[in-house]
Symmetry: C2
Subunit: 200 residues, 2 copies
């Protein structure tokens, strides 16, 4: 029983994933994967968490004439970090039932037939959720900008791994809209759905 | 407890809706609505079932210079049929808990806070489902063409009523991918999800 959670920034997907895992009595992997990659490669967790397509693309361009260009070194590291991430995700999945949040785990683990959820919400609802935990210096405008950037990066990083696109409903088994709903209210129904799915 | 089912042609959405209703012990409205509209307007059920945006658009264009053009008469009828359909859906919803299949019931009944599901599948899976009940004279090619036309018409007809688009996950509470799944296998999980949703 492997469940993967794709999610839009601000949709409450991370909270939902953690709560599902708790209710199912299985581990939930999110920052744990990032921490392990960071440790292996002597990177900051923040760096690993935010590797974007742009960081990687440079790795794929010809290095001719650029061999003294230090960013190539860093970008090779970025792609090695993603390779490590895949290894770690596969290793964790071998240990037993679990929930993975993000990290394209649905694609990395496709041979294990995970149940792939995508959690989303209206921009209004996502903004409202983010405003509940607003940090100093943030405004509605900066939050919206950050929200869109994070999701754009998620879509980009996924596009390296597969053709089915981030956020397209066709890429997932079940897509859950959290607009106007407490995450807690969605857990019992989803737990039942997941149990039925794997009982088959 | 009002549940609406939007669905792609061939996704098994109609079967899923009927089985959900049966398991929930509530009526399921699909052809019943069409039959009532057809009766009221002395139309064939097939005609009512297939009113498309094109049928209606002509109604909205200026009639100047077209007053002898008989299609205008028929098209006015088409839009009256859709108005009747809305009245009938609202009346049925007043009678108690139920499931509506298609007919933009999610929009028509939005004041009653229905749970809006969208049922979809990969084109491959939808084609396979249609091929199980292939009729004389049909081929893969004609089925695919028909499938795409029906869904295009559904999207078009919905666009008259609202801005949130047919098939966009943002327009629904829960989107269910039926690819590679028996509809029966999805029912227990969805029934639990629906009960939890309305128990809140």
């Amino acid at each position: 029983m492997i469940i993967t959670i794709g999610r839009e920034f601000g949709s409450g997907g991370k909270e939902l994933g953690r709560k599902l895992a708790a209710r199912l009595g299985v581990p939930c992997y999110d920052k744990e994967v990032i921490a392990e990659v960071a440790k292996r490669h002597n990177m900051t967790e923040d760096y690993v968490d935010n590797i974007s397509l742009r960081d990687l693309r440079i790795t794929f361009t010809p290095t001719v004439g650029k061999s003294f260009d230090s960013p190539i070194y860093f970008n090779t590291n970025a792609s090695q970090a993603l390779v490590s991430q895949q290894e770690i995700i596969k290793k964790l999945a071998e240990e037993g039932d679990c929930v993975f949040i993000g990290r394209s785990a649905d694609i990395i683990l496709r041979d294990k037939n995970p149940l792939n959820l995508f959690i989303y919400a209206s921009e209004e609802a996502k903004l409202a959720r983010c405003l509940e935990n607003i940090r100093e210096g943030e405004t509605e405008k900066t939050i919206l900008k950050h929200m869109r950037k994070i999701d754009r990066d998620r879509a980009g990083t996924r596009s390296i791994l597969c053709d089915n696109r981030w956020g397209d409903k066709e890429s997932y088994h079940l897509c859950v809209n959290t607009s106007g709903k407490d995450i807690d209210a969605l857990i019992p129904g989803l737990v039942a759905y997941i149990k039925a799915w794997f009982a088959e």
